[in-house]
């Protein structure tokens, strides 16, 4: 700690006269203002219209309300767990430890898109599956997948603008058709993607749903070579198309109830399929499908054999951030990826501090 003895470093210069001292003080003030201004500039204080994670999550909250303790999107869900059994085929694509032959434990969460935690189950609602693979050396791989074949938006801004355009009109309770039409007219990629999405009929339940990574990623092999990939989960359970009979249900939770019933009967399984991007396959545009080529590799089987309500599940309090990647996997140049990571974090932080309200699928629902 500094001693109190004093010493002058060198001869003191004569004190400044009042005017010059004031001038120098002013100069110091300007320097400090520049530093503070630079800090605030970096924090976005001078760009109030720029899209930030907070403004994005605000838009979800305006669309669906704030439901204490729930995710701002994909609010309704159940926790699951099981394991992934790698067949070793993935090791030539990526050095990630998850692809070494053998089992790793997996925690997951099935969900419906949207921010309403007690929304009625419906086959046309987006289905989500968040997964967390625990690798042997303490690493993790998290992925948040949906059942859409492609994503409707190229950029975070497009997604946000669509959220704003589809905001229900307070008078009619429905989105303004003019705004929706204007959005479509200025976003041909979204219109094209929605065409692809509508041509895929939804399956009857969660258990026979195929889930897709949507965004492209990069796999890095042991030699350091990198390839573009997308992944998907292909259900072992036979595909049954959703029918009018299955949709006209009185039970609001009929799809979750069916999932619980089937998982209690027998473990559910999916093949993890890696699609390798060919030259020309876009890695920065999730609205574009990659043609099904010969370059698809089945790298192992996901088995989910346990289901529980969010109240007891680890999955409720986890952020399925798609950029929690083990060594051997890396993000692509898709602008959605970093934005998803930022927005998931914002949603997680908001709900983490809120009182938790019971989920639509209760512990009793899972036991019955």
């Amino acid at each position: 700690m500094p001693s109190d003895s004093t010493v002058s470093v060198e001869k003191q210069p004569a004190p400044l006269n009042g005017g010059r001292a004031l001038l120098r003080l002013g100069g110091i003030g300007i320097i400090i203002l520049c530093v503070v201004g630079g800090f605030l500039y970096l924090g976005g204080w001078f760009s109030p219209n720029a899209l930030t994670p907070a403004r994005f999550v605000d838009a979800f909250e305006r669309a669906d309300g704030v439901h204490s303790g729930f995710r701002r999107n994909h609010a309704k869900g159940v926790g699951v767990s099981g394991y992934f059994e790698s067949n070793g085929q993935g090791t030539r694509l990526s050095r990630a430890a998850v692809f070494s032959p053998g089992r790793v434990p997996v925690i997951g969460r099935f969900s419906f898109g949207g921010g309403v935690p007690d929304v009625a189950d419906a086959p046309n609602t987006v289905r989500g599956l968040g997964l967390l693979f625990r690798l042997p050396d303490g690493e993790e791989w998290r992925t948040a997948m949906v059942n859409l074949p492609v994503f409707p938006f190229q950029t975070p801004q497009d997604f946000y603008d669509n959220l704003v355009a589809s905001q229900p009109d307070p008078k009619t309770g429905k989105p303004d058709p003019e705004k929706m039409a204007a959005f479509g007219a200025s976003h041909p990629a979204t219109v094209r993607a929605l065409g692809i999405i509508q041509s895929h009929a939804p399956s009857s339940g969660f258990d026979n749903t195929a889930f897709n990574s949507l965004n492209a990623f990069r796999f890095i092999d042991a030699a350091g070579a990198s390839i573009p990939v997308r992944w998907s989960l292909a259900p072992v359970q036979p595909l049954v198309a959703a029918t009018a009979a299955t949709t006209a249900q009185t039970d609001k939770n009929y799809m979750f109830d069916a999932l619980i019933a089937s998982i209690l009967q027998h473990p559910l399984q999916w093949h993890l399929i890696i699609t390798i991007g060919q030259p020309g396959d876009p890695t920065n545009d999730a609205t574009m499908a990659w043609p099904d080529g010969p370059e698809q590799v089945d790298v192992g089987t996901l088995t989910l054999d346990h289901v529980e309500s969010e109240e007891t599940s680890f999955a409720r309090d986890v952020n399925f951030d798609p950029l929690v990647l083990p060594s051997g996997m890396a993000p692509s140049d898709d602008p959605l990826l970093s934005a998803r990571s930022a927005i998931y974090s914002q949603s997680f932080t908001r709900r983490a501090g809120e009182a938790k309200t019971p989920s639509a699928i209760s512990a009793a629902d899972v036991r019955k």
């Binding site: 001693s3 952020n319 501090g353």
Partner: protein
Amino acid sequence: MAIPQTQFTVLMRILHWLMAAMVLAMLGIGVAMVASLGDYHRLVSIHRPLGIAILILVVIRFVNRQFSTLPPFPATMSSQERLVAHASEILLYTLLFVLPLIGWGMLSAARFPIVLCGTLHLPPILPHSVMLYAFLRKTHTILAYLLFLAFIAHFGAVLFHTLVVRDGLIKRMAPWRVQAR
């Protein structure tokens, strides 16, 4: 009688300027990343290992300080001013130690992997609790703004002494060598 020391030791000055650059970068990255969508991942991937590096360096710096002789304050500083300067040093050391620790702790409470680079990652230091995460996350932001204010006060005081009082205060920490009289 030995010539009174006019400067901090070479190691102390290296640590000071190295950490000054790191902490300034850290504050800028921190405030930018929470407002960013496109650069969020890149920035947060630097923020985590840089924070841990600061935590390690501040411990080294604190231990080294206990074994070093410090140059005296200039005669131009009153005893109250010395008290304030000393208190601000304690505040800066405390924040540089506590901020990275809270960052590590909050990610632990969220069970978010604390990846430094490649497969290198840190173990969690707190139990899984999202309420605890939310509290620490808020604390991290508040203390980071406090650190920025403490930096501004420190920077402003040194500028004031160097440019207005002209007592050569900066020479104690100058990266170049200053000869004792």
